[in-house]
């Protein structure tokens, strides 16, 4: 319930947060011209952001890295998380290697037979491409980053410095009614992003941003899985499983058609490879089907485990007091897996004025 409590405030100074520093720099460098090389370099890779404002507006991908842990490539078309372990490169290599081996050693054997194996080869390449494309999409796209500083309570000015004041009321977790009278929903204020987070949104400490419908931060794709890339994540898993199945089928046919298996070492290697690489995506997909069917995100499920470090060993059960659980497994699953993507709130290729608080 709402209480009229005294509102002494948490004081978050821009100077101490480092937020205002970027702005000061931008203002002092306002008149400086960026060299062509610097401009090209910034377009190719924007690691720490571009503080230089030639005009009153600047590209979003120049400013976002100053406040978050994202870095951008090719004019903001792709992003990844900097200052993290880049396991995504290893995952990418794991996906590419079998396709290359198959193309070099196996493909022609099946393609030139007269038993209609061409379709199987085609399906392998199709799902392999699906796996790679959606991996790139899920790992380099905006997961649903929410804008900053939308819900500032008060701003105090002192010696030409602006200080954000967080009222005491904003530090409480509040409960609000939902349609089902037996349930309620909890909202929390993010003191880093200065927003009232909608239900299911959470602040990712690795990406340093609040993500809408935050499922989890995936170290294997080096990005969060949220509202804007959840469906891609599922398609990526499906692609990984199907490409593994088809590489096993194709290579098994090759092994079956020769007299001695030792004459096709690459085919055997790829069968083993396929059997190994199907396990993790398979478990993960099953896990997400179970989670979404019970109306939970990974984050919500982990909260219910209380200290169990490996969630894979825990049985997925329906959470108590889950306002999102409609009671129907299929409906819950569709609700999460097919959720509509909101437009990107901070489109990396867009522009903003240098005074825009959402980028401070």
């Amino acid at each position: 319930m709402y209480t009229k409590s005294r509102s002494l405030c948490n004081d978050l100074n821009y100077k101490t947060q480092g937020n205002f520093t970027g702005r000061e720099e931008s203002l002092t460098m306002n008149n400086s011209k960026i060299s062509l090389w610097k401009r090209i370099y910034l377009w190719i890779i924007t690691f720490e952001g571009g503080n230089e404002y030639e005009e009153d507006t600047t590209k979003n991908y120049h400013s976002i890295p100053l406040r978050t842990n994202y870095m951008f490539f090719l004019g903001g078309r792709f992003r990844t998380v900097k200052r993290s372990r880049h396991y995504s490169i290893i995952v990418f290599a794991i996906m590419v290697v079998p396709g290359v081996l198959f193309s070099v050693f196996e493909c022609s054997n099946l393609w030139h037979t007269h038993h209609g194996y061409k379709a199987l080869v085609f399906f392998f390449y199709y799902f392999w491409a699906m796996c790679i494309f959606f991996f790139i999409k899920v790992s380099t796209n905006d997961a649903g980053v929410l804008p900053r500083n939308i819900h500032i309570g008060k701003i105090m000015e002192n010696n030409n410095k602006e200080t954000i004041i967080i009222p005491d009321e904003y530090t409480n977790t509040i409960r609000l009614p939902v349609a089902n009278k037996n349930h309620s929903i909890e909202l929390k204020y993010c003191s880093t992003c200065h927003i009232w987070r909608p239900p299911r949104a959470s602040h990712c400490s690795i990406c340093q941003a609040c993500i809408d419908v935050h499922d989890h931060h995936c170290i294997w794709i080096n990005n969060c899985v949220g509202n804007r890339n959840y469906r891609y994540f599922i398609i990526f898993l499906v692609g990984a499983i199907l490409s593994s199945i088809f590489i096993i089928i194709n290579c098994s046919i090759h092994v079956a058609r020769i007299r001695r298996a030792s004459n096709a070492p690459v085919a055997i290697l790829l069968i083993v490879y396929g059997c190994l690489t199907i396990i993790y995506p398979g478990i993960l997909l099953g896990y997400h089907i179970a989670l979404t069917g019970t109306g939970q995100t990974t984050r919500e499920f982990l909260h219910t485990l209380h200290g169990i470090k490996n969630p894979m060993l825990s049985r997925v059960t329906r959470a108590r007091d889950n306002a999102f659980d409609s009671g129907s497994f299929f409906h819950n699953m569709i609700f999460l897996m097919a959720q509509r993507q909101a437009p990107s709130f901070l489109p990396s290729r867009g522009t903003h004025s240098r005074d825009d608080w959402r980028f401070r």
């Binding site: 509040i174 239900p199 005074d355």
Partner: protein, 233 residues
């Protein structure tokens, strides 16, 4: 556990100045305008304030749905019997007037009916845009799957969805006579990430005449005070 009631979770209470004769806490129902162009020295523009319309969850959980009652009319809003007409400035703090109830300065410019019409329309656009069980959503997923993600790129170029229609509606609203006359503006909800629906209103300020300054009754001075909208844009 007691069932919670809906209220505007953006508002908070503020202690009046220590030397104030009025012990009552103020209710902050309007907030700094982060969307407005700052002053020349780069500080936040104090001529405008933001009234935030919160999201409600009784109707739907997965789709942003904004409260369609004017702030101050929510079930658990702070209200006083003598303040049933809307926002009444009570005291200036740092040159900005605050009331003691949940009513916001928006109630000075828009009637509850006009407000409900606007919000209902915004909610309809959002419902259409975020609806999971729609033909377009399933077609998009299937084509995205079949065309290896290429459909999403094509789709964004050629399909005008309800999010864009909502943006057009916001522009249309801001150009309307009601909004221009009252010098108010609805901020693009995409800009605020659909976290709240933000109305930009002129900063309410209490201008006291000498006779009012002599008055000992805070309530009386509030009710007779004038609110001065500032237009320096």
């Amino acid at each position: 556990m007691e069932n919670p009631q809906f209220f505007n979770y953006h508002e908070f209470s503020l202690d009046p100045e220590k030397n104030s004769s009025e012990p009552e806490e103020l209710c902050v129902s309007h907030f700094p305008d982060i969307y407005c162009k700052p002053t020349r020295d780069g500080m936040i523009n104090k001529n405008y304030r933001i009234v935030r319309i919160p999201r409600r969850f009784e109707n739907t959980l997965g789709i942003p749905y904004f409260s369609n009652v004017l702030p101050g009319n929510e079930p658990a809003a702070l209200t006083y019997d003598y303040e049933d007409q809307g926002f009444l400035p009570h005291e200036n703090v740092d040159g900005i007037a605050y009331g003691i109830s949940s009513f916001s300065p928006l109630s000075l410019y828009i009637s509850p009916e006009e407000f409900q019409n606007i919000i209902d329309k915004v909610n309809r656009f959002l419902e259409e845009g975020f609806r999971v069980n729609s033909f377009f959503n399933f077609i998009t997923i299937i084509l995205d799957f079949l065309l290896l993600g290429a459909w999403d790129i094509v789709f964004n170029y050629f399909y005008f969805d309800s999010f864009q229609e909502l943006e057009r509606y916001v522009q249309q609203l801001n150009n309307s006579d009601l909004f221009k006359r009252n010098n108010i503006r609805l901020i693009s909800p995409q800009k605020s990430g659909y976290l709240s629906l933000d109305f930009e209103v002129p900063t309410p300020r209490i201008l006291r005449t000498n006779s009012e300054a002599d008055s000992t009754s805070r309530l009386e001075s509030a009710s007779t005070s004038k609110i001065t909208p500032h237009n320096d844009q």
